[in-house]
């Protein structure tokens, strides 16, 4: 088993482009469409838990702040300026599955969450493997 972090983004500045017409902001959906989307996410997590593959997940606020040490005795420097719009992570899930293939399959099913008009939003989900425990036998 290996753990994977699935990242949902509010906004990406890197990576592949979205499918045309699929990245309509949520505030332009109907309330029912939003409910359906949220319910889909809950069902997805419940289904993963039922399979014994769900570890944890949380939604994140949009205000991601970059902080930097700026020398002894000085106030930390927070945020920008950024040459491009910065990335914003909307939330994360951790799953524990048998293979890369299974992780991608789970991420793809999460990406099929319904959006405007009940159609899948085809959202890009970032899949990042965790480092594991070193095996006993390495030599």
């Amino acid at each position: 088993m290996a753990k994977y972090l699935l990242l949902k983004h509010y906004r990406r500045t890197t990576g592949p482009a979205n499918l045309p017409g699929t990245d309509v902001p949520m505030d332009q959906w109907t309330p029912e469409e939003i409910d359906a989307h949220v319910q889909f996410m809950r069902d997805w997590a419940a289904e993963m838990a039922e399979r014994g593959e769900y570890v944890d997940g949380q939604a994140l606020e949009p205000r991601g702040t970059f902080v930097r040490y700026d020398g002894e005795g000085r106030a930390p420097v927070t945020d920008g300026p950024f040459p491009e719009t910065k990335e914003l992570i909307a939330g994360w899930m951790v799953i524990d599955v048998d293979s890369d293939e299974r992780a991608y399959e789970a991420a793809a099913s999460l990406s099929a969450a319904p959006g405007q008009g009940g159609r899948p939003i085809h959202e890009w989900i970032e899949v990042r493997p965790f480092y594991g425990e070193p095996p006993v036998v390495t030599e």
Partner: protein, 386 residues
């Protein structure tokens, strides 16, 4: 088992007995999943009752109680009341055959229909007698997740029949995976794998079981030298050999020799032979690399695969020089885990430090765990700063 069963070894006793009772029920033809539930209930009953009055034959008591729990599943509430009355009396002891049960249970829990993760979880719970919480802790997942994984696994094997309980190949594979899971929770999985292999060894007549047991002992004996107190990786050649457990090495070698004498060679016996040659050397320089290579040739014949060819190339490098090792490495496909690290080491031995540093850094980006990544990054930095 939940709660705190208290002192005087009750918890250990129940952990020992639970799998044996399950084995008896399964051998008598009970449905696996239902039997497992019944055993858990019987263990709870024991936790409640035994501190006051421990039965003369605890195992027979549990078999009887679990058997009744099973029957309860298909009986009415009225029968349930009668059972509670009956339970006031001590159950009669029954016959038990532990050796057969161990193999039967292990075969069931390591069934090929299960994914490795499910087989490991089910084995630890049903044969190892660990609680779901302990298994969850070992794999760093929530208890609810592990409970689901185990109950899915139970359902998967519930309808499966086992016509060849003598086929231990799948069991050995799962035990070796358990051994390699290492140590993250309150339970030492390496020791647990060794314990289960000992049980299996008593229950079967296959020298490969002894081969695996010897292999695990010979690796486990080096445990204290394998990492620094801070958790950094120490390669075999740099290990402080005075930290090796010589008694465990001696036991591993004895078991291996007895297995080899039976002349039914298999991959675990060969791997154990290689481990024994490493454990036998007083210093890394005294390792009998020529014999190590011969055993790897045997392993290539018995269980060919990319990791075997990779390890063989490293051994060839040590026996016949780095250039011979690099030639052997050409048989190993790109992208095989640790190929870059092996190539880096061989290039360093050959004196090509720039290429070695580049390959160590590349290997670090492909490491599967932090300890190994840090080790490889340090190797690259060491060569770059010369």
């Amino acid at each position: 088992m939940t709660g705190d069963p208290g002192s005087d070894g009750l918890e250990d006793l129940l952990r020992e007995l639970g799998p044996q009772v399950l084995g008896v029920l399964v051998r008598r033809g009970s449905d696996f999943a239902a039997a497992e539930d019944a055993v858990q209930e019987a263990l709870l009953e024991a936790v409640r009752r035994w501190p006051d009055a421990r039965p003369d034959d605890p195992k027979a008591w549990l078999v009887t109680v679990a058997g009744r729990k099973l029957v309860d599943e298909i009986r009415s509430a009225a029968a349930r009341r009668r059972r509670e009355e009956r339970l006031q009396h001590e159950p009669e002891p029954g016959p038990t055959e532990q050796a057969d049960d161990t193999l039967l249970l292990l075969s069931r829990c390591c069934h090929p229909a299960l994914t490795p993760a499910s087989a490991i979880a089910l084995t630890l719970r049903a044969v190892g007698g660990l609680t779901t919480a302990q298994v969850a802790e070992a794999f760093l997942v929530p208890e609810a997740t592990m409970a689901q994984r185990i109950s899915r696994a139970k359902r998967t094997v519930s309808g499966e029949r086992f016509d060849q309980p003598g086929d231990v190949t799948a069991v050995l594979r799962v035990l070796y995976l358990v051994f390699n899971e290492g140590f993250t929770g309150s339970v030492d999985l390496a020791q647990e794998a060794i314990r289960l292999a000992r049980q299996l060894s008593a229950a079967t007549d296959d020298p490969e079981v002894e081969g695996l047991l010897a292999l695990m002992l010979l690796h486990h004996a080096r445990r204290r030298a394998r990492r620094t107190p801070e958790g950094a990786v120490v390669p075999l050649a740099d290990q402080d050999r005075s930290l090796w457990d010589t008694a465990m090495i001696a036991e591993g070698v004895d078991i291996l020799q007895a297995a080899l004498a039976r002349d039914r060679l298999g991959e675990y016996q060969v791997q154990a032979a290689i481990a024994a040659l490493h454990d036998d050397a007083a210093t890394a320089g005294e390792t009998d690399w020529v014999q190590v290579v011969e055993w790897y040739d045997e392993l290539v014949r018995l269980a060919p695969g990319q990791p075997v060819l990779l390890n063989r190339a490293v051994a060839v490098g040590a026996a016949d020089g780095p250039l011979a090792g690099l030639r052997a490495l050409e048989q190993v496909e790109q992208g095989v885990p640790r190929r870059d690290a092996a190539a880096a080491w061989l290039h360093e031995q050959a004196g090509d430090l720039g290429e070695a540093a580049r390959l160590y850094a590349l290997a670090a980006t492909r490491a599967g765990n932090v300890a190994e990544r840090d080790h490889l990054t340090r190797q690259a930095a060491r060569l770059r700063n010369r």
